[in-house]
Every structure is written in C-alpha cells, then in structure tokens.
C-alpha cells in the first residue's frame, strides 16, 4: 500500500494524467472522505439515506408538516375515507390549477344506522401549501399557525388520508407518530450503544475471565425469546405512570436485549485492532491504556459502530410498534405508529377503514430505508478494503 502510493505520487509529478491525478486525490484524502466517496457509489443506500433524513425532518418539524393537531377531532367526520384529490378545476375559461378535494354527503342506512359517505361532486374544498391552520408552538418557543399543507379555509374537512373512528386526521397523526417511533429507535440504540461499547470494550480489551463472563451473558440473552419477555416486562409498567416515563421505560426494556449485538461488534473490533502494528507501537511508546483506546483505537472503529447502530435502529422501531400495537407499549395520548395501528387491530375495523393501516406503510418505509442505509454504511465503513 505505502510503496505503491509513493510510486504513484512520483508518477504524478512526471506525467500528470487524469487517472493519476485522481489517485493522488485518493492518497491525500482523509478516512472520512474515503468513506463518503465509497458510500456515494452505493445508489440505493444514498436514496435510503435521503428517505431517513426526510423522516427525521418530519419528526423534528411535525407541527409544521401535519395539517392538523394530533388530538383535533371532528365528530361529524368519523371514519371518513381518503378523498379523491383533484388538482385542476374546469371553469369557463378552461382548466385552472385549483387543488381541491370533493365533499361528502352522509347517508344513513335506515335499518342498521350505519353511516356511509358518498362523494358529492358539487362541493369542493380547496387546499394548498403554506396555509394558516390551527395554532401550535414549535419546540415550545415559537407560536405559529403556518402549516405546509392544509385546507385553504380553516375548518374545511380536508383529510388527505382519511380519519379514524373519532374523526382525527390519519395523515397528521402518522406524521406526529414519526416523532415518537423514530426517536424510540434512536434513544433505545443510544442506550444499547452505551452498554455495548462499555461491556464489549471491556470484553475485547481485557479478555480472560471477564470476557468469558460477558460472552456467556450475551449468549444467554440472545437465546431468550424477546417478544414474550418484552411483553412481560412492559406489562409491569404501572398504568398510573406519566406517558413520558412509560416512553423511557419502554426504551430501556428494548435496549436491555438490544445491546448484545453491538457489544459483539465492539469486542470483535477490539480483538482485531489490539494486535495491529500501530497499537503495539503506541503501547511500546508508553502511551497510557486510556489514551490508546480513545486516541488510537476508537477512531478506527467509529465507522463500523455507526453502521451497526444504523442496522440496530429498525429492530427497535419494529419492537416498539409491536408492543404498542398490542397495547402494552406506549399508550395514548402518546402518538406512535404502533399506537395508531392499535386502531386497526381486528379484521372488522380494517374492513370498515382500510386506510387505518397507513401508519404501517410508514413503518415499512422507515425500516427498509434504515436497513439499506445501514448496509451501505457497512460496506463503506472500511474504505481501505477493496
């Protein structure tokens, strides 16, 4: 590696062709730059990265993106199906750009009193971008009422993805759910990472008895059936707890098992790095253990750890969704994708309102995106390997 790179640098001085120039660029680039270049080649991972970024943007600015507040309900519009969306209106002087949805007429079955909605072409409710809606406070600081998308005239029933059994907007609730569901993954993985790095690091660096103990513990934890265990632990959270405490309790329960794979990754890295020349050189130079770990070993495993963290998040998201779906995870008024899917727990409710499964699509998109992103990161994590 070293000899070939000096050669190419010498060549670069004599015959500066494009090819050689790009090679000197590679030689001079930092590790992170190389990772970025390698990652950029992975189209799918790049796209997945953008989707992930988009989801986290939604989560941070949920108030702005959602047309309604999550708890806003309309008793007159329960189980409203997603409307037909029209972008143009035919007027006397031809087609005009006028995004709107049609209104609904309510029909009540005289026998069963079941309400059905029939599209009423006469009524149209216009909607648009950057409209004024209900007032909200962004991050608890700015009081605003501008929303990305919503009804042009406040109060018009524009529910782009339909409503649930209380007449709450499914789209808005899914957007608010992004905040909780995506952050459960982050917080849970953060906790797992803390445990995994400490225990995996100790295990890999010291070896011997401690290593054995930690490895056996990991094996035991991995052979446990996770979902029944999670069910048992989270069912024990008292009903009287504040939703925020429940949220943290759930993330702690999830990371109690989630740390094992991260610990294994960290341990493997430590084991392989321990015998590398630069670590031995540092040790012979009399550098302290802590410094060896922090200054010399940590930087070369960061990229791998980031990749495994990304791959661990989808599991957390799925676990939270499953628990909340069963009603033993997060509970209303907290809005997460799992809590929303609880509304669609049996065939009858799905048969009346299949659009309640929409948060499920959000789950699948998020999990797929994070998986592809993690795959791409893992491939790019070691840029010196070809």
């Amino acid at each position: 590696m070293t000899s070939s790179s000096t050669n190419s640098q010498e060549d670069a001085r004599s015959i500066p062709t494009d090819d050689v120039l790009s090679e000197t660029r590679i030689v001079l680039a930092s590790q992170w730059k190389l990772i970025w270049w390698k990652f950029r080649k992975h189209r799918l991972a790049m796209f997945a990265g953008l989707v992930t970024l988009f989801l986290y943007t939604l989560a941070i600015f949920a108030e702005f993106f959602a047309p309604y507040l999550p708890q806003t309900y309309s008793a007159a519009h329960t189980h409203l199906p997603p409307p037909n969306i029209h972008f143009f209106k035919i007027t006397d002087d031809g087609w005009r750009f006028y995004p709107h949805v049609n209104g609904y007429k309510v029909k009540v079955d005289p026998e069963s009193y079941k309400r059905t909605y029939v599209i009423d072409k006469e009524i149209s409710y216009p909607f648009g971008l950057f409209v004024n809606g209900e007032e909200y406070s962004l991050f608890g600081i700015f009081t605003m009422n501008m929303r990305l998308i919503g009804a042009k005239h406040a109060g018009d029933p524009v529910y782009l993805f339909g409503t649930d059994r209380l007449g709450r907007d499914v789209l808005s609730r899914t957007i608010y759910g992004t905040r909780i569901s995506m952050s459960v993954g982050l917080v849970g993985v953060g906790l797992s990472l803390l445990l995994g790095v400490i225990l995996g690091g100790i295990s890999g660096y010291y070896g011997g008895f401690v290593d054995n103990l930690i490895q056996r513990t990991i094996e035991i934890l991995r052979s446990l059936p996770t979902i029944p265990l999670w069910m048992g632990l989270s069912a024990a959270i008292p009903l009287t707890w504040h939703p925020i405490s429940v949220y943290f309790a759930i993330t702690i329960i999830l990371s109690l098992i989630g740390w094992t794979s991260l610990a294994r990754e960290v341990r493997g890295r430590f084991l392989s790095l321990k015998t590398e020349d630069f670590v031995i050189a540092a040790r012979l130079d009399g550098v302290s253990e802590i410094q060896i770990i922090v200054r010399h070993m940590a930087p070369s495993m960061t990229s791998h750890i980031i990749a495994s963290v990304t791959l661990a998040i989808p599991g957390m998201i799925l676990a939270e969704t499953a628990l909340s779906f069963l009603g033993i995870g997060l509970r209303p008024p907290i809005v997460s994708w799992g809590v929303l899917l609880q509304e669609a727990q049996n065939v009858r409710s799905i048969a009346t309102a299949p659009w309640l499964l929409f948060p499920g699509i959000a789950v699948v998109v998020a999990v797929l995106a994070m998986n592809f992103l993690g795959d791409g990161l893992r491939d790019a994590a070691d840029p010196y390997q070809t």
Binding site: I220, P225, G232, A236, V347, L357, G360, L368
Partner: protein, 314 residues
C-alpha cells in the same frame, strides 16, 4: 445449559414479582366470591408470601421441578399446568412446521439467487427478501386477513373451525387444523425465509468462488452435479446453525401473530394473563417458552455437529 436455565427461571420469577402488591391482593379484588381468611392463609403459606424473596423463589421453582406444579391461575381458577400443555404443544408444532417451510422455500431460492447472481431474477428475490424482512409479522397478518375478507369473503384466523375448538383430538380435528395452518405458517415464515435466502446466497457465493469448484469444472463435471456435490452441502452448514436464532425468533414472533390471528398457542394466553395480572400463568409461560428456545438452540448445536463433524474436532 443449566446456568442458562437458572437465569431464565430468575427472569420469569422477576416478571411474576413485578406488578405492585402481592398477587393475593389482586386475587381478592378480582374474585367475585368472597374468600375466607383460612383459604388466604393457606395460599400465603403455600407460596411463602411472608418469607424473603429467595425462599419464595425456591418454593416456586422446586414445585415446578419436583411436582410439575406451576401455581394456580387466578383468572381461570385452575392450576397453570392444566392450561398450558396443549397450547405449548401447538406452539412447538407450528414453529417446527414453519421452520420446515422456511427451509423448503429458502434453500432452492437461495441457490438460484447465488447461481444466477446479478440477474433480474436475483434482484427480484433480493427486493422481495428485503420487504419480507421489513414488514412486521402482525402487519402482514392484518393485510392477509383483510385481503381474504375483502376478496374471498371469508374471515380467516384461528387454528380450528368453531366446532373443533374444544373437541377431543381426532382425525377430523387434525385435518381441520391442517386446513387452517397455511396462513400462520406463511406469515411467520416470511421474515425467516427472507433472512435465510440471504444467508444461503452469501454462503454459496463464497463456496462457488473457491478453487476446488474451478478444478471440478475443469475436469468436466456437469454443472448440476458440480453444484450439488460439494458447494451446496458446505453452504448448508451455517443454515443449520441458523436454527439457533431462527427458532427463538419464530417462537417470539408467533406470540404477536397468534394474538392477531387468534391462534390457540401460548401467545394469546400470555397476553391475556399479563393484562389481567395473572402472574403465575404469565411467569410459567415465559419460563416455558424460554426453555423451548434454549432446547431449540441445543438441538441446532447437536445437528450441526452431526452434519459437520469438523465442529467436534475444535
């Protein structure tokens, strides 16, 4: 093995102890009839509720090991051991069938995907595989139930037709069970199949690039024979060890799917017992399900040593 079982039993015991207050309080509040003091005292004595935690644990675990006594379920007013065995059997049965299904589907597709690397078929398999991994089991269950309700007009779910639910085991009941089995097996198997296709493909690709394959090809061995004689056999080894993590995932995943599909397995029973804080039932189920997965891991180790004798040498 034994330390693992010990730790599992402690975890199950902790789950029993977790709800606030001792369970006699919940028994008294949940029961419709009045329970007289002597009965309460007898129960208190039996479970050692006035004694320190480790004695309670000892009474509980020794009762299970010596007498097969898992305590009483207060919701059902029956001993736990009467409630669980059939459900546990069905759980094992479904998991094994699903495991077989996963193997039968994943191995040929994995081989195909590795041999036809980077073709359209490979990409299709890859994409379907990733989606299979990303869709949560219960969501898949809901979607399939909706489809069959909407387009076939029948509501699926359960493991038996209504007339067979409480019937004694008979040939008809078995046939009825088999007719209901396909849906849970597909739902449970999707994620595992997707994962094993990836494993099989990666293993086989590793093997196919080795020199002995090249050598065999140079000697004029037919492609089919070449493929199945060695590379596939070697690539199957990691698949056997995969049982160790697929099996726990199946039992764990079946908990939620069974609740959605209303199957008579341990999942719904555990769910209900947790909701009504019927803790001896819940703890026993968690204990037994964990023991099952540990046995599954052990079986996969033995199978692997049998198929790949090199393991024993190490």
């Amino acid at each position: 093995m034994v330390p693992t079982l010990f730790i599992v039993s402690i975890i199950a015991f902790v789950v029993i102890q977790l709800p606030p207050g001792d369970f006699l309080a919940s028994l008294i509040s949940s029961s419709s009839e009045t329970i007289d003091q002597s009965q309460i005292d007898a129960l208190r004595e039996r479970y050692g509720l006035d004694e320190p935690v480790y004695i309670q644990y000892w009474k509980w675990i020794s009762g299970i090991i010596v007498n097969g006594d898992f305590g009483d379920s207060f919701e059902w007013n029956r001993p736990v051991s009467e409630l669980i065995w059939e459900r546990l059997g069905l759980t094992v049965f479904i998991s094994i069938i699903t495991l077989t299904f996963i193997w039968i589907v994943a191995i040929p597709i994995g081989i195909f995907s590795a041999v036809k690397k980077y073709t359209l078929g490979d990409y299709i398999v890859t994409v379907i595989g990733f989606i299979g991994l990303a869709v949560p089991n219960f969501l898949l269950a809901l979607i399939l139930m909706y489809i069959s309700f909407r387009y076939f007009g029948q509501s699926v779910g359960g493991l038996f037709s209504p007339e067979y639910i409480d019937a004694k085991w008979s040939l008809n009941r078995v046939i009825d069970l088999l007719q209901h089995l396909w849906l849970p097996v597909i739902i449970l198997g999707t994620a595992g199949t997707a994962a094993l296709i990836r494993v099989m493909r990666a293993n086989l690709l590793d093997e196919l690039s080795k020199l002995y394959v090249e050598a065999a090809r140079a000697r004029g061995l037919s492609e089919l024979k070449l493929l199945f004689k060695y590379p596939v056999r070697v690539a199957l080894n990691p698949l056997v060890s995969a049982i160790a993590w697929v099996f726990p995932a199946l039992i764990s995943g079946s908990a939620i799917t069974s609740i959605v599909l209303n199957l008579q397995t341990t999942g719904p029973l555990l769910y209900r017992s947790l909701q009504s804080q019927d803790m001896y039932l819940a703890g026993s189920l968690i204990l037994l399900v964990s023991v099952l997965t540990i046995i599954g891991t052990l079986v996969s180790d033995i199978l692997l040593a049998w198929i790949d004798p090199r393991i024993q040498l190490q």
